[in-house]
């Protein structure tokens, strides 16, 4: 009886199915079918016989035993954590300050300009950043004029600076864009709170600290937790574009490793194993983050 009603509803909704099934097939081909390629992670290429041979977990054992694995993990986590901390503090600070601007026109202009770098490609951003930091660039010029340094600092050539270079590049590119979500959350704060605080004689700073910041607390928490889930995705574009032979030791992330081993050295199995490792760990982290953020967000509402 029940199955018959389901079938009749499917037939009744055939038009919706006709619209969605081609898309599902398309997604299957481009998103699910390549997962079959993960089999490569458990194989080894035999050049003599031109076949892939099953080797079990050999690739993973090699990977976890390799010194470059730890270097790459350290770089990925280091850049992620720095970008996360810098990114959040700068975006929250900027959003709080934009929220305090009283002239609406000026506020809009600041917002529009701060979104700009988000729309530029990483190639353009890298070109602009490397000019900005070059030996004759504006930063070195200003620092020398002010007498803070005697000789130009070659920021791009020092491996110790690289993580911070990436962190600040990420901030420049996305800080304005990331304020959108906080500013949206701030519009939801009850204006009566500000009025009564003003009557109590609270200054601007204490209003920011006691009303605005708590008002966006749950938004911040959810975003921080969700971003933790992406911690292994430090990206590759900006590292690829801004690194050089001098800094590659601190610049190589998981994704860059996969590109180098997989495409340039044609060690497909090892690269796939590392890519698979990244995806699996990411899914675990994201599921955990999702779980935590649901609990925390609920608590934040109480």
């Amino acid at each position: 009886m029940r199955t018959r009603t389901i079938w009749s509803r499917i037939i009744q909704q055939w038009q919706l199915f006709a619209m969605i099934v081609p898309v599902m097939v398309y997604v299957f081909i481009f998103s699910y079918l390549p997962l079959g390629g993960w089999a490569m992670a458990f194989q080894r290429y035999r050049p003599q016989r031109e076949v892939q041979e099953w080797v079990g977990f050999e690739q993973f054992e090699f990977l976890f035993g390799d010194a470059s694995f730890f270097r790459v993990m350290r770089n990925t986590l280091g850049m992620s954590v720095i970008s996360l901390i810098l990114g959040f503090t700068c975006a929250i600070f900027l959003a709080l300050m934009i929220n305090e601007i009283r002239q609406m026109k000026f506020k809009r202009v600041v917002q529009t300009i701060s979104y700009m770098p988000h729309f530029l490609s990483w190639v353009i951003a890298a070109a602009l950043i490397s000019d900005f930091l070059s030996s004759r660039g504006i930063l070195n010029t200003v620092l020398m004029q002010l007498g803070i340094i005697d000789a130009p600092i070659i920021f791009r050539a020092n491996p110790d600076y690289f993580w911070w270079l990436i962190g600040w590049s990420n901030v420049w590119k996305s800080v304005g864009w990331n304020t959108i979500i906080y500013l949206a959350a701030m519009t939801g704060i009850d204006p009566a709170l500000y009025e009564s605080a003003e009557l109590d004689g609270a200054g601007r700073f204490s209003r920011i600290w006691h009303i605005t910041l708590p008002g966006i607390k749950s938004t911040i928490l959810v975003l921080v937790i969700m971003n933790m889930g992406w911690i292994l995705n430090a990206g590759f574009e900006v590292q690829w574009l801004l690194s050089n032979d001098l800094t590659i030791n601190t610049a190589e992330t998981i994704d860059l490793f996969v590109i180098r081993y997989g495409l340039n050295q044609r060690n497909y199995s090892l690269a796939t194993a590392f890519g698979m490792f990244k995806t699996v760990v990411s899914i675990i982290l994201l599921t955990a983050a999702n779980f935590v953020s649901k609990r925390v967000a609920k608590e934040g509402l109480m």
Binding site: G37, S121, A127, I138, A184, G262, G275, I283
Partner: protein, 301 residues
């Protein structure tokens, strides 16, 4: 000594305005500096010292770029792939969003999860490379638009917008005997312009800005399949390789043999501007739409 509230407020506002001006400078200066170099005499630019205004004004850098066969091809490819991806992507994502927004659709839950999974599970570079090879997409123009039409996040944003529309619209169309596809295409789609503008902007920015697809999948047919961002990347890495020479001041216009009367600095700056300007002209007009889109996506995603 106690400062009056009014004075304290004024001090705060002044400091905040100064801070905002600083932000504006940080965001705009690198771009304006590059614009000035692109408008300055190429050999003069090598001397350095150009900040916000060209020293010897000229348009010849733009002239030599638009005379270059490779860059013209790159420009055409970038435009073509962006248009194809945006039109095709908007169609597929909005049609999917429409079906998922129909509350009565019996497979709604399953299909939503099926699509959402793609946001988290990705096979990675190497398996994707082999798939494209099997589909003979390598060194094929179609690699630029065909694989990337679907975006789960875009679908969710569009679906959420459609769920907010009054049900009476779809019901009225149904009473008139319109098919589901006609209802979607002629009734729902026309009133979704704000969300389509947002998603369309995201798709076109992503495509216009992409250099990696060319690098991985199409670089062995660079002369016909190259894109603007890829050429910029090539110029950029060339000038990075010369970084050592640059510092000793021994830079000759050697990297730009293909261009007339110009220098690598000027070429780089000019391509940067050409690659950046189309988007910079568009996004401010769509600001009120994408601000809402970000909000919807983050809440319901």
């Amino acid at each position: 000594m106690k400062i009056s509230t009014k004075t304290a407020n004024r001090i705060f506002d002044t400091c905040n305005t100064i801070f905002m001006l600083f932000i504006i400078v940080i965001m705009l200066y690198p771009f304006l500096n590059t614009l000035a170099i692109s408008l300055n005499n190429a050999t003069d630019s090598i001397k350095g010292g150009i900040y916000l205004w060209p020293r010897i004004f000229t348009l010849s850098n733009y002239g030599s770029i638009f005379e270059n066969e490779l860059l013209l091809t790159a420009f055409r490819n970038s435009v073509a792939r962006t248009v194809l991806s945006t039109v095709g992507g908007l169609f597929i994502c909005s049609m999917t969003g429409y079906v998922l927004s129909r509350q009565e659709f019996i497979a709604r839950k399953f299909v939503t999860i099926y699509f959402l999974m793609t946001m988290y599970v990705s096979a990675g570079l190497i398996p994707t490379y082999f798939l494209y090879r099997d589909l003979s997409l390598i060194n094929n123009f179609h690699v630029y638009w065909l694989p990337g039409l679907f975006g789960a996040f875009n679908v969710i944003v569009i679906r959420t917008y459609m769920q907010g529309l009054p049900d009476s619209l779809v019901e009225a169309a149904r009473i008139d005997g319109a098919s589901e596809f006609r209802t979607f295409f002629q009734v729902v789609l026309p009133i979704c312009k704000p969300v389509l503008a947002t998603v369309g902007l995201w798709i076109s920015v992503g495509n216009w800005n992409d250099w990696f697809t060319t690098y991985i999948y199409a670089s062995s047919r660079r002369s016909t399949l190259t894109t603007l961002q890829y050429e910029l990347m090539a110029v950029l890495s060339e000038s990075m390789a010369q970084m050592g020479q640059q510092q000793s001041g021994a830079i000759a216009a050697q990297g730009a043999a293909a261009f007339n009367n110009t220098s690598p600095i000027a070429i780089r700056a000019t391509i940067t501007i050409v690659a950046a300007v189309p988007i910079l002209l568009v996004y401010p007009f769509l600001q009120k739409y994408f601000v809402k889109g970000v909000h919807v996506g983050s809440v319901k995603g």
